[in-house]
Amino acid sequence: MRKTGLSKWFLALMVVFLLVLAACNSESGTEGTDDSGTDSGTEEGSEGEGEEGEGESASEDGLYSIEDFQPVTTDEGEAIDGGHLQFGLVSDTVFEGVLNWNFYEGDPDSQILEWFDEALLDVDENYNYTNDGAATYEMSEDNLTITLTIKDNVNWHDGEPVKAEDWAYSFEVIGHPEYTGVRYGTSMMNIEGMEAYKNGEADSISGIEIIDEKTLSITYLEPDAGLLNSGLWPYAMPKHIFEDIPVAEMAESDAVRQNPIGFGAFKVESIVPGESVTMVANEDYWQGEPALDQLTVQVISPQTVVQALETGQVDMVDSFPTDQYPDVEESLTNVEFLGQTDLAYTYIGFKLGEWNEEEGVAEMNPDAKMADVDLRRAMWYAVDNNAVGEQFYNGLRWNATTLIPPSFPAYHDETIETPTYDPEMAKQILEEAGYVDTNGDGMRENPEGEELVINFASMSGGDTAEPLANYYMQAWAEVGLNVQLVDGRLLEFNTFYERIENDDPAIDIYQGAWGTGTAVDPSGLYSKFAAFNYPRFVNEENEELLAEGLSEESFDQAHRQEVYKEWQQLMVEEIPVFPTVYRAVLVPVNNRVQGYSIAEHWNAPHEVSVTAEEPETVE
């Protein structure tokens, strides 16, 4: 008797655990970082997210489309006065707490920063600067000098006005020889006198001139069309607070970690390191007093994000694992999902050469296995990326066409015809290029009649990584190409990038992803001088177009668009890499929240309001 009672109990417990296990299964890591600063581009995480497979997504109604989402909240209710907004940072790590634009590196920090300190220049939907922000700009005739004027009512949280010297100070800190952050990039080097200052030969940057309390001008060595496309450092640093702190110690100082200030809509009130930040409304905000009176940002584990939303513990989160969307779409009735196309794409890259360390330039190898563009094109034709998007991502990723994603509406050219799934076409191209099966094993040999085995590197992580890699290999096998995983398995993130970076000869092709950042200029990824040109692609026309896109003529928008259209076309013809899927970002927002938007160019935090004291919960 006793025994049966106990075993029944066991059985019940087992069932409970089984259910929990199944529930945990679909929860995977968070999305990689998405940098919204001007330093464009971050490494996107591996192909982590996704439904585990065909199953439910095979049916028509299991599919979603980014068209059905919009980036702004639908505002229906009556807003109340004040209110306390709960913002969740979805992360399985803590936030680093480097709360200063000049020093932060992790995405969670930037999410916090955005609420209390903002860029002085606003951007439009193509991330070009406008004159609607906290400062206005004017470009000189020769496109070398930009004059910046900070609006009069822009003040730091401690009451001090945001001055021209604060902005100039930001440049001085970044250019300082002891600066520890990563913001010293090409557009910084282009400032007149920056080099001398960086090397310690000058005490100030000769190209930066403070005209009056609110006006400064910056003179550049070369005209750079990327400057007005999120290429200027738009963040000021309160000089009166930082001037006594040595630059090398700034990142660890209390002014960054304990009581940071900015001029944004909210003021930091208190920080629990790594966990949460509480903020209160900044009544002196330059765009007007915020509707909310309090804001809390707290870290939420990706395992519990759904429960946190369900119970109204948080009103919204910075990013939501899109693979969980199909599971919660019905049940999370208390939130509205906002969505937009991410500034990122996934791609298949072909190793075409090596990096020349001494000269800092990529060199193509004409004998590389993937050197034949016909082979590369056939591989593009052989894969069905729309099916990948539907099968693995429920339609929340979809076939990509060019290397400038649609999130740059003015630059992305949707008229360009790119190879899309057509296995017959792939076979035909291969036949014509001389890739035929000569030894009768069902796989094609190369034109010299030697056996062709293509080694494919793909990252591990998440449930979809493995089936996705298998899908690609099968698709290529179907057109007669023998593609095998490097080492016979998926590679862990660090190993993957180390081997790609070092041009490991064992790798012929790889699957990667890039976040493009807000600057459209792709030369950081595809110029022969770019270390991140992992395919090691070298092409004169490519270099010319990339240079043209940043040249003086390209200050003319129409010209610049034309140049980037040509560049996208060129990349479709040359195929050093081919994009596979674009992706959606989804952000759930509680029904009580109004006036919020996830669009990158949105800057109206003071208009965010709530319609009830407490977040709505699922009934």
Binding site: S40, G274, V299, S301, Q307, G360, F493, W514, G524
Partner: protein, 321 residues
């Protein structure tokens, strides 16, 4: 007694040196470094990345870096965390406090559960009560902590809403106030209980078998023969002798808890040492990683030492040897 401790300490020293070298070598062999994750900033050229690696000393051979690091450690400087951009000592200082309190609470719960259960189970062995307690310990042995903690969080955190679900303290409270301390404690209860319910099963089992063992000893029979009441037999004679191995176990218990538990900390978004360790591995924050691992090593060795000392205090037989 002192001789014993000193001798133990002398053995400890070479253990530490070997440990630190091993940790350093292992870290060296990991693919990638702290900058691997930050690649992808197209405004930064290869040259600059290389300069940064050079400046951070990432290109030096391991023995040079080891030398630098050891000379720092001797002076109490564990280096700078690349990721957090702050001294590692300060970083660990922040986290270890959290881990420490979590350990204390967990330990308290562990013993609150273990001692009565162990005694009951040992005293009434082979009864229905004993079997259900033993049943619980078997389930506890078999249950993975990360599932159990998630279930606890789901039930008591979200379904009933009795406990906070993340963090170590309510946002916005001023440190040092009564509310702050209370909130800290409140945040500790659920992760503490979750961990204790699983961690306690070892102790329950030890105690049970120890009591059953002691029960049959001759001196207990003697005590009974002398007419000592049953409660006195249990409390004075059996329990005191049965607690010996538990006391010895205590040192190890502390070690495990200082290390924090990665699962519980991640699930409850509770920033402690376990989380710090895991993050520094995945993000290749070498200076933090090496320091944290070394600290774990030191506590492990220290815990063993503590156990030995406790044991020698309560059990004179060991000391004499």
């Amino acid at each position: 007694m002192w001789k014993f401790i000193v001798r133990r300490l002398i053995i400890t020293f070479p253990q530490l040196v070997v440990l630190s070298v091993l940790v350093f070598l292992a870290a060296q062999f990991m693919p990638g470094d702290a900058l691997t994750g930050s690649i992808g900033n197209p405004n930064i050229t290869a040259e600059q990345l290389e300069q940064r690696r050079e400046a951070l000393g990432l290109n030096d051979p391991w023995y040079v870096r080891y030398g630098d690091w050891v000379s720092g450690v001797v002076q109490g400087d564990l280096g700078e965390s690349y990721r957090f951009k702050m001294p590692v000592t300060e970083l660990i200082g922040q986290r270890i406090v959290n881990s420490f309190w979590l350990s204390v609470v967990t330990l308290i719960f562990t013993y609150i559960i273990a001692v009565p259960l162990g005694i009951l189970s040992g005293r009434y062995n082979d009864s229905l009560l004993d079997q259900s307690i033993t049943g619980y310990t078997y389930v506890g042995f078999a249950t993975p902590l990360f599932i159990f903690a998630l279930v606890m969080l789901w039930i008591f955190g979200y379904q009933f809403g009795w406990f906070p679900t993340n963090g170590s303290v309510e946002p916005g409270l001023t440190p040092g106030t009564f509310d702050y301390v209370l909130s800290k404690l409140y945040h500790l209860i659920l992760p503490g209980i979750s961990m204790a319910l699983i961690a306690t099963v070892n102790t329950v089992q030890y105690l049970r078998s120890e009591i059953i063992d002691t029960k049959q000893r001759d001196f207990i029979i003697t005590a009974r023969a002398k007419g000592a009441p049953e409660s006195r037999v249990y409390n004075r004679h059996i329990l005191r002798n049965s607690l010996l191995p538990i006391a010895a176990f205590f040192g190890f218990e502390i070690t495990g808890l200082i290390g924090g538990t990665i699962f519980v900390e991640t699930i409850f978004s509770y920033p402690g040492m376990g989380q710090l360790f895991l993050e520094s591995v995945t993000l290749r924050d070498f200076s933090t990683l090496v320091s944290v691992v070394l600290l774990f090593g030191v506590t492990a060795i220290g815990g063993a030492l503590l156990s030995d000392i406790i044991l020698s205090l309560v059990d004179p037989r060991i000391r004499i040897k």
